[in-house]
């Protein structure tokens, strides 16, 4: 325990009491010493007087050697109890007379004679003094005085001193209490007040202690200090609240802008990231980031060094601002595009000490297709790649859907690009809704809908449970597409074909997407508006297509291609009036391959041009040969299909001229068939080509009419001779729906435009009669004949020279008369187109 651990009151009391005790003790001691001195002085004085009296009395005794008288005189000392011993010496120093007090110690010795003066020894005082007789020294006297009496007096004094001490202690204690109160109370009050203020933070209270002197000064200063604190507190609060407000405003603005904020102390290396920052990357707020390395670690390896360099450049003052676009890895493994801006704070030497800025998620702008706002192909491939990684690690199943609009080209061609765009936007929305795409930021099992080409869309279904989940999504999408689209103010129906590839079918994004594409193609082949899964069979098909593509090039040179011919008859009398040339591939290993298998492959490349040229030349050559063989035969036409690609090929005219020139065929005998969609593309160029062909007297015919969107006004302006109704309308004639009306309408339309009408795919007598009744001009189909080889075709020609009609294949009881039926069509190879 140290003295400062006690209270002021205690210390004050202790101090004052100690002081008073000390004072009393010192005073007593001083008094005692003084008394002692005085006592001794008075003793000496008394003794001297006594010695003088005795000396005076005994001087004569000494002079006259009268010991007896001297002795008598000394014995008078009995009245002086303090004198223990008295002794007279003669001038020779011999003891002349002596006296011993009866009360004194018996052992009291006679002191040996010494020179005059007072001598203290123990508690006794011995005084030597000369004895004079009329100034003549006759001897000396010694008196021994007992100072013990002083002890008694001292005891008396001590009693008084103790009493005084007691009173003074009591008095000072009482006084100190008052003093301590007057000093300590204000201090205690101040302490209590301080404590209260510090705990309640209420700076408006004031110390109300009335006190003068230093304490008053302290109280005043304390109150003044409180006033200052209060005003400063107020100012601080105002500043704080305005700061808070501005901070909140800024935080709100940053949140509104969806920006992440960073603040990097370049001195300590610490860095702060706002919660939004982590959120952007799919981290929870608890995944606290605090080092720049975490930042750089999440930057795409391809961008990392560039970003570092850009930051460094700004730190070194080479750029006014740090602005960088880079990719950052999300927690899920995917990347987002971010735009980071920052600015450095520099010290007086220009050294950057702090750098702060924002980070914005610009993935949307970076990856989105501007038209549909869907992610683009690179982004999709990126997501696909990380999906492959994740699935590989987690043993997940996911699916890639390749979606292709079945009728986009037609819409785009017939209604214009704006309409096409409108359709794509609507279509994209339906895809998205169909997938009910989870946000790409939320979690790992994400779905992505992307536009990867003109009318091609791809969907990544992240983490599905089973194959049927992909089917369900596809079904949902197809169902949504069943609703009409409103484009350019029109109500149209479009469908889509979907190919699905599961991640088990490929290892790379490209492979998976290609597989989905293949499956989509299969869906299209299977009739469109459906979905197909990619499987091993399709893979084989893909391989086959590859084989076809490579094989076809050789096939042309190797003379593996052959032409088959299908008769076209006049509806009125069933006489042969033309042959449509159809190409077949006589594959050395696979046998005869139908055009449906290789024409689409050829159409995807320039093979179709080569193929088309070959067909054109061969068909013209054959027809010219037949015409020379049967010079008196009817004037038959040879119908050759021209693909859209050929039409846009600038050498088409040359090819046609070459074919005619080489065969010597009359252009009138050549009819070129082209589909509705193929002539809808570049109107001006197409029209020019058609006009030139027409000018050569070549017959022109629209193929597959009814599947496109040809407008009447357009048809009117095109130099066509005939129109071939698509087989789908013919097929449905017997089912009794609206097909009959459509065919009738087409016939009326065509006839009003002075166009001949050909019906293809006629298979039953019912169709035959219906069409004849409706006024159809020409027919072709299995009812008359399937496509046959050149030899069989020549036979038909030969027969027609005799005026024979083509026999009906299914002549029944109600069969019409068919003249000159030489050979049954059924006997021909049962080839199906």
């Amino acid at each position: 325990m140290h003295i400062r651990d006690f209270s002021i009151r205690f210390n004050l009391s202790l101090l004052t009491i100690s002081a008073s005790v000390l004072a009393v003790l010192l005073a007593s001691l001083g008094f005692a010493i003084y008394e002692w001195q005085r006592y001794r002085a008075s003793a000496v004085h008394e003794l001297t007087a006594l010695a003088d009296i005795l000396g005076g009395n005994t001087a004569a005794s000494l002079a006259f050697n009268d010991e007896r008288t001297a002795q008598e005189m000394l014995s008078a000392l009995a009245t002086e109890p303090s004198v223990l011993v008295a002794c007279l010496y003669d001038n020779q120093g011999r003891v002349f007379a002596d006296y011993r007090s009866s009360g004194g110690p018996h052992a009291a010795r006679l002191p040996a004679q010494r020179s005059d003066g007072a001598y203290y020894e123990g508690e006794s005082l011995t005084l030597f003094r000369g004895v004079l007789l009329k100034g003549e020294r006759t001897g000396s006297i010694a008196l021994v005085y007992d100072l013990g009496g002083f002890r008694l007096r001292l005891l008396e004094y001590a009693k008084i001193a103790i009493l005084v001490l007691f009173i003074s202690v009591l008095a000072t204690f009482l006084a100190s209490l008052r003093l301590a109160h007057s000093i300590a109370d204000p201090l205690v009050q101040l302490a209590v007040l301080t404590h209260r203020i510090s705990s309640e933070k209420d700076y408006s209270v004031r110390a109300g202690i009335r006190s003068g002197g230093e304490t008053g000064l302290l109280v005043d200063s304390f109150n003044e200090m409180l006033s200052q604190i209060e005003s400063r507190e107020g100012a601080l609060k105002d500043a704080l609240s305005s700061l808070q407000e501005s901070e909140e405003r800024y935080a709100l603005a940053a949140r509104g802008a969806n920006d992440g904020l960073w603040d990097w102390n370049l001195v300590t290396g610490e860095i702060y990231f706002s919660p939004r920052w982590g959120q952007m990357l799919g981290y929870a707020e608890s995944d606290c980031w605090s080092t720049p390395e975490q930042w750089f670690g999440h930057i795409h390896p391809g961008d990392r060094e560039r970003v570092r360099a850009e930051i460094k450049a700004h730190r070194e003052g080479k750029t006014l601002e740090f602005v960088s676009e880079y990719r950052m890895r999300q927690k899920s493994g995917g990347y987002i595009w971010t735009l980071s801006r920052g600015i450095a704070v520099r010290d007086s030497t220009g050294k950057a000490i702090r750098m702060a800025g924002s980070q914005t998620d610009i993935t949307e702008g970076k990856i989105a297709d501007p038209l549909t706002r869907l992610p683009n192909r690179p982004y999709f491939m990126d997501r696909l790649e990380s999906a492959i990684e994740n699935a590989h690690q987690q043993k997940w199943l996911f699916a890639v859907l390749f979606v292709d609009l079945d009728q986009f080209k037609q819409v785009n061609d017939s209604l214009g690009h704006a309409a096409g765009d409108e359709l794509l936007i609507d279509f994209a929305g339906r895809l998205r809704a169909g997938v009910r795409s989870n946000s790409r930021r939320n979690g790992t099992a994400e779905s992505v809908v992307a536009r990867i080409g003109g009318d091609e869309f791809a969907i990544l279904l992240g983490h599905i449970e089973r194959e049927t989940d992909a089917s369900k999504v596809s079904t949902r999408i197809l169902k949504r597409l069943g609703e009409p689209f409103y484009v350019d103010g029109r109500k149209i129906f479009v469908s889509a074909s979907i190919g699905i590839a599961l991640n088990s079918t490929g290892d790379t994004p490209e492979e998976l997407l290609h597989n989905a594409d293949t499956a989509m193609y299969q869906a299209k082949t299977n009739g469109k508006a459906r979905f197909e899964f990619f499987n091993e069979g399709l893979r084989k098909l893909v391989v086959t297509r590859f084989d076809i593509e490579t094989g076809l090039r050789k096939a042309i040179d190797a003379h593996q291609l052959v032409l088959y011919y299908q008769p076209i008859v006049s509806a009125s009398d069933s006489r042969l009036c033309g042959l449509e040339a159809l190409v077949r591939w006589n594959h050395p290993e696979r046998g005869l391959i139908l055009p449906g298998e290789f024409i689409p492959v050829a159409e995807e490349s320039d093979l179709i041009v080569l193929l088309g040229r070959w067909v054109l030349v061969e068909a013209c050559r054959r027809m010219a040969e037949w015409q020379r063989t049967f010079p008196s035969g009817p004037s038959l036409t040879i119908n050759v299909n021209v693909s859209g690609r050929q039409l846009s090929d600038p050498r088409l005219m040359e090819d046609v001229q070459f074919a005619l020139a080489e065969s010597g065929l009359n252009p009138k005998s050549l009819a070129l068939e082209m589909t509705e969609s193929s002539i809808m593309g570049d109107t001006k160029q197409t029209l020019e080509i058609l006009d030139r062909l027409k000018a050569m007297n070549i017959r022109l015919q629209i193929d597959d009419f009814g599947t496109g969107y040809s407008s009447l006004s357009r048809l009117q302006r095109l130099p066509f001779d005939n129109l071939k109704i698509d087989r789908s309308f013919i097929r449905e004639l017997s089912t009794g729906n609206s097909s009959l009306d459509i065919v009738r309408a087409i016939l009326q339309l065509a006839h009003s435009l002075k166009l001949g009408v050909v019906a293809e795919g006629v298979e039953t007598e019912e169709q035959f009669y219906s069409l004849r009744q409706l006024g159809c001009d020409y027919m072709q189909g299995f009812l008359f004949s399937k496509p046959v080889d050149a030899e069989a075709a020549e036979e038909f020609y030969r027969q027609s020279c005799n005026g024979d009609a083509i026999s009906l294949a299914f002549a029944g009881p109600r069969s019409i008369h068919v003249a000159g039926m030489g050979r049954r069509a059924a006997s021909l190879d049962a080839e199906h187109l």
């Binding site: 001087a59 004569a60 050697n65 009329k134």
Partner: protein, 156 residues
């Protein structure tokens, strides 16, 4: 020894004013010149001072020659001259000291005697008073016998 006594007597006796204050500071002890202890007295006390006074031993040869004497010592050997000398000195301020048994009765003032081998003295206070000599009480205290007049008056 008696010489020292004589000196001390002089110390304790006051002579009348005028006797000793005549400008002469000497205080004279007179002895007869035939005094056998003349030598001893002279050597012991001559020249000693009592206050401002100087003690002198003076020799006289006849009784008429007492002028200037303050103290007169008559030894036992001067017994024949004792009575006439004392007679002639009566009333005169001269302290007379003697040794004989009838010295006081003869009118002497202080008389030595031996008491247990110690020199003691008696005083004739009346003789001294009649000679206007004042004898100190301290001296009287030491006297064996103090008489008021003559030898008949004994006691303290």
């Amino acid at each position: 020894m008696k010489a020292a006594f004589l000196f001390h007597f002089a110390q304790l006796v006051d002579w009348p004013v005028g006797v000793l204050n005549s400008g002469d500071p000497s205080l004279n002890l007179c002895i007869f010149d035939d005094e056998p202890r003349r030598q001893e007295l002279q050597s012991t006390i001559d020249g000693k001072t009592i206050g401002a006074r100087v003690f002198h031993v003076r020799l006289i040869n006849q009784a008429q020659d007492f002028q200037g004497c303050n103290i007169l010592f008559l030894s036992r050997d001067e017994a024949r001259r004792q009575a006439p000398t004392l007679k002639s000195l009566r009333g005169m301020p001269v302290l007379t000291v003697g040794e004989t048994a009838n010295f006081l009765s003869d009118g002497g003032m202080i008389r030595f005697h031996l008491e247990e081998d110690k020199i003691r003295f008696d005083i004739n206070l009346g003789g001294a008073e009649s000679s206007h000599l004042k004898i100190s009480a301290r001296l009287l205290l030491l006297a064996t016998l103090v008489t008021q007049s003559g030898a008949a008056d004994r006691g303290r």
